[in-house]
């Protein structure tokens, strides 16, 4: 076989607790991040992602503690994002036990931070976020602040730039789809995946197992990220792997 499609549950963390925002606004508490991480490790998730959505407002100490405790009990790759602005922020997370850091708004205001982290710690540990909304036919724009603030930056150009600067992979999130459970923006995902040589993670809007499959077959993503469908027990990681395999895609047994 070849490299497997990665199924990545994403835990949105705020103030040390797992939450899931519907369009990043209404938050529901869904538990302790370390316990959730342990459960996903046991369930055979291919990777795990923590996004600290409180990072811009709260202290970072809680997050570092969670990352450290998670790394002690989880033996799968852990990506941590939220509030990473400098190579120093990245270093603190990597030292705490993160394998990769996701750079979000800083990659919009100061894309050089991606090159800086790549240079210091290697491309393999940087996931650059591309948070976009559709603004016209075949056109997407980068939005910040949880999808509320437009930037005027073309999403495809931005994605190419981040890959050139040394991002090891791109986390492409449709801010239109996020929290809606109506599926990834497949056009956006495919436009980016077909233009860059690094892997693309599809994100934003998963409601069914079929959405995961489409992220790969129609979105050309290398990995599929989802939150609610896993967190609230609607589907298991094993079901996600099985759905990918039934569609003829490589996934872990």
């Amino acid at each position: 076989m070849t490299v497997r499609v990665r199924v990545i549950p994403c835990l949105d963390v705020a103030d040390g607790r797992v939450v899931k925002g519907v369009n990043f606004v209404d938050l529901k508490d869904a538990g302790d991040p370390v316990e959730q991480a342990r459960a996903y490790d046991a369930a055979g998730a291919d990777e795990l992602c923590f996004l600290d959505i409180s990072a811009s407002h709260e202290g970072r100490g809680t997050l570092l503690d969670i990352v450290q405790r998670t790394a002690e009990v989880c033996f799968m790759p852990l990506t941590v994002g939220g509030g990473v602005r400098t190579a120093e922020d990245a270093r603190a997370l990597l030292l705490a036990g993160a394998d990769k850091v996701a750079v979000n708004s800083a990659a919009v205001s100061r894309p050089e931070v991606v090159a800086d982290i790549a240079h210091k710690f290697g491309s393999q540990c940087i996931v650059a976020s591309v948070d976009a909304r559709k603004v016209g036919e075949g056109r997407w724009e980068i939005f910040t602040h949880g999808g509320r603030r437009p930037t005027g930056i073309d999403a495809l150009e931005h994605a190419l730039k981040l890959a050139d600067l040394g991002a090891g992979e791109l986390l492409v999130t449709s801010m239109d789809g996020d929290g809606t459970q109506s599926g990834y923006d497949l056009e956006l995902t495919r436009a980016i995946a077909d233009s860059v040589s690094v892997p693309v993670i599809a994100s934003g809007g998963v409601g069914t197992l079929d959405h995961l499959v489409q992220g790969v077959t129609r979105g050309h993503a290398s990995a599929v990220l989802a939150a609610s469908i896993f967190h609230f027990g609607k589907h298991s990681i094993a079901e996600a792997h099985a759905a990918l395999r039934s569609a003829g895609l490589p996934a872990r047994a």
Binding site: V3, A71, P77, G97, F121, Q124
Partner: protein, 207 residues
């Protein structure tokens, strides 16, 4: 049994130390001290980032490479290199210019060739660990699925040093081995039960 986990500034030490402990290692010494390496029963060399940066970090520790040579080649201590720690076994690496490696297993570390636009670099994710007919790793490496994360790959001069292969747009070496030295391109510390089982076997490995 003491295990020296070499700290040469190449990141991910905690992950490897955590996984070794979870695999049953009781005395893991994370160290930059050549004297500790000389006294260790087993040695693990981790590594993430570029070949050049890792080689620079390792050679920057006075006496470390000499201590490793002595303990592994004269003393016969079992040695495990992980990811860039495996690549450093090569004669040279070609990432950011040619850099000398340990030269314990003859070969070169080259950029993965992108034979098809659908092949993404880095090679990132779970992939096969497939064994050949011969087993230079003396039972340490078993077939299964492991987590890979790399853009460069080890091309040994001698086919007999290849312990396992994987496939990403063509065959890539997943593990190399010679005598008491083994290197794995994948990350056992990030490969859940498969990886922990490999680390556990390494703790008892008698090459």
């Amino acid at each position: 049994m003491t295990l020296a986990l070499i700290d040469y500034g190449a990141g991910n030490l905690h992950s490897v130390a955590n996984a070794l402990r979870a695999a049953g290692a009781e005395d893991v010494k994370t160290t930059a001290d050549p004297a500790v390496v000389r006294a260790a029963d087993r040695i693990v060399l981790p590594g993430v980032g570029s070949f050049k940066a890792c080689a620079k970090g390792l050679w920057a520790i006075p006496g470390m490479v000499e201590a490793m040579n002595e303990r592994v080649h004269v003393g016969g201590a079992p040695f495990l290199g992980i990811c860039v720690g495996m690549q450093l076994l090569a004669t040279r690496g070609l990432e950011h210019g040619s850099t000398k490696g340990l030269g314990w297993i003859a070969g070169e570390v080259r950029l993965i060739e992108r034979t098809d636009p659908a092949i993404k670099i880095p090679h990132m994710g779970w992939n096969d660990v497939s064994l050949g007919r011969k087993d230079p790793a003396h039972g340490l490496v078993e077939a299964g699925e492991a987590y890979f994360l790399h853009s460069y790959h080890f091309v040994p001069d001698e086919g007999q040093d290849v312990a396992a292969m994987t496939d990403h747009g063509g065959g890539l070496v997943a593990a190399v081995a010679r005598d008491n030295v083994v290197g794995v391109q994948f990350h056992p510390e990030k490969s859940q039960a498969f990886g922990l089982a490999l680390l556990s076997r390494f703790l008892d490995w008698k090459p």
